[in-house]
Symmetry: C2
Subunit: 404 residues, 2 copies
């Protein structure tokens, strides 16, 4: 509940148990209120030396680095990510390519596993790359996409999914947190709906990983992918991750058969035989420098603890909503996110007809948010690097723009 | 021609116009003769500061970096690579993911473009990941692979390709330089054979880019992919590149429909429409830090000039072959590469039944080569960082091992 009297940003920052983490990130070149860590996370102070170290290892150890941990990095880092943030078992998570490519691999594998079914279920407001990947797969296989049209709702609930899944559904693919509204989907409830229909469920965790505790195993997820350059602060275009529940690993086969997804790759033998376990989802040579930045970014979230991160995300969101009600609602700005913190991811969407122009004007005033067409100002709240004062400054500037 | 009296490594190094480039690479931690730059190139001295700079830009400019050149980097870097080393036009080359994923995209697009044809042609000794990708595509589409079996030959010639292509051939996919023998394939001759059969030709340039001048346009290549972590010295698991001849770009459609391959991606609109040109081959968010290392690595080769690099590669290979004849042939080591420099890429294969054990023993003596099953010692000669003295030391140690 949001108290009638909104506490000051200053007092909230003083009481914030994670406040010291802000100094663990490199300051921007200018004095900005960075409210876009949900799009590109900040640079951890620990990342440049970690990168320097791995680059030094390349220079000094040369090809021998592959025998000194590089080759296993997609899986060792996957295990660490899976155990600390995803609620996954060892051997269920690997780092690879981009979210787009990971999604393509897993969705393709899922469709191959349900060859008699003709439909893919996703929602109309799913992240663009997710929709496009699914559309490409549907077109190439002659499948149909059943769109969940949530209309005025902020995102699909189990009943919305149940209304479109059926005996023809091969795959349900959804984002855990909606990229526009920040609506947090009910992973357990929707996974049950999909499973009961005999479909596989694939979660895109891009907007939840590192800001919300995730329980893939206990929530019944079959497959998942996600991004590391948002709340995991791993750098522009950082590698993504994929998860395949252990019980499916024998049956699912991904389409991009590469040497590093093969059993015993350095035998360079004739014929492809998938590696055992999650390694079969790999394809090409893993990007060692980029993975090292992921490792550094992950460490910070693990150190802070995901429960503390989530608590601060909720508090930041509640604070933004309180200031919205006090300052912005009277000026015609609507709330485009769930009011209840328990249903909300790590950002808050504010809706205004001139959102695009307001975002540009905010940038000139040193407030960095992002615009999502047609009318959303996304206020990103990355708990380790965003202070209550940053959020307040952003909303105060917006109020000022709308008043003057 | 190799002279009867082999000049000393010292005199060859003294006369080497590229000798100063060796100091442009970071020295290894130990005193090794690194003869494996064809597997993982060395670290350029210029790369760590370039990486530090781009990481600093991430920290200081944050999301704004995407509007300050990051977003275009796969294409601007592709243009630079294409113009300087590939003989490609502007707008024909992009950097993306790994060689494996790029190969998958282009091979898939090519097969879609020849839907009435049932066969893929490649050679039995093609690099493993190339074979596996093609096998996966063949299996999923019910196609047949027609293998070129070159037997005792070092690699396929146009006549070998002509013997297996036909009216059912959709795609011919070959490596420009064979990864084991270093045999340099006749790109123009083989491309003509493929084109005359109505097939598309896809070249894997991984073992030639940066060490051999490539003329994709004038040699009639349709498609190409390649790796940047060998002769382009871009780091372990660095991004790969892909080339699509301009005249094919409208007709070819790749399978991984992601937001960054879409027209106007930030409209985040419904429905996928491919971007114009080579950008349609992109999928996910480009890896900016990793691409920056590619840029630094490419600069060095461009500065040296590819013709000078090729001249030194030939001289190094001739030198290794001369020493082989003098020192190693009498000890039972066979030459597994073309004798003529004009038919040879940037490494020399030496064949011995105990190649695996010899490679391990060489490593203990500080000579780093690599082993390729079942019986090949690959002596990698990376012209910018390998001296004649390095090569001589490697062969002298091998002689010593075989003598004692």
């Amino acid at each position: 509940m949001i108290p009638a009297e909104v506490p000051s940003a200053l007092s909230l920052d003083e009481r914030d148990p994670l406040r010291s983490f802000k100094s663990r990130f490199v300051p921007a070149a200018d004095d900005v209120a960075y409210l876009d860590g949900n799009s590109l996370g900040r640079l951890p102070v620990s990342t440049p030396p970690r990168l320097a170290e791995i680059v030094k290892q390349w220079g000094e150890r040369l090809i021998r680095g592959w025998e000194e941990g590089w080759l296993e990095l997609p899986l060792t880092l996957g295990n660490r990510l899976g155990a600390s943030l995803l609620g996954a078992q060892a051997g269920e998570v690997a780092l690879a390519e981009s979210t787009t490519v990971c999604l393509y691999k897993l969705a393709s594998a899922a469709l191959d596993a349900r060859p008699e079914r003709s439909e893919i279920v996703t929602d109309r407001d799913n992240f663009p790359t997710d929709r496009y990947v699914l559309e490409g797969l549907a077109e190439s296989r002659g499948l149909r996409i059943r769109w969940i049209e949530t209309g005025a709702e902020l995102g699909p609930r189990p009943a919305d999914v149940a209304a479109v899944v059926g005996p023809e559904t091969a795959l349900v693919a959804l984002s855990h947190v909606a990229y526009r509204s920040a609506f947090l989907l009910d992973m357990a409830g929707i996974s049950t709906v999909a499973r009961e229909a005999g479909a596989l469920i694939l979660w895109d965790l891009s907007h939840s990983v590192g800001v919300i505790p995730i329980a893939l195993e206990s929530d019944g997820a079959d497959l998942a992918v996600g991004c590391t350059y948002k709340y995991l602060n791993s750098g522009p275009g950082a590698p993504a991750f994929l998860y395949v529940r252990a019980e499916h690993q024998r049956a699912l086969r991904q389409p991009i058969w590469g040497w590093l997804g093969r059993r015993d790759p350095f035998s360079m033998a004739q014929g492809y035989e998938p590696a055992a376990g999650i390694g079969a989802m790999l394809s090409g040579t893993p990007p060692i420098i980029a993975l090292t930045a992921v490792s550094a970014g992950l460490d910070l979230v693990v150190e802070a603890g995901i429960d503390a991160v989530r608590a601060k995300a909720m508090a930041l969101g509640d604070f933004v909503i309180a200031r919205h009600e006090e300052w912005l609602a009277p000026l015609g700005v609507k709330l485009g996110s769930p009011y209840a913190a328990a249903e909300r991811g790590g950002h808050v969407a504010l809706v205004h007809p001139d959102a695009a122009g307001l975002c540009r004007a905010l940038a000139i005033r040193g407030v960095i948010v992002d615009f999502r067409p047609p009318d959303i100002i996304r206020v990103g709240l990355s708990p380790l690097s965003t202070s209550f004062a940053d959020a307040e400054r952003g909303l105060a500037e917006l109020r000022d723009l709308l008043t003057n």
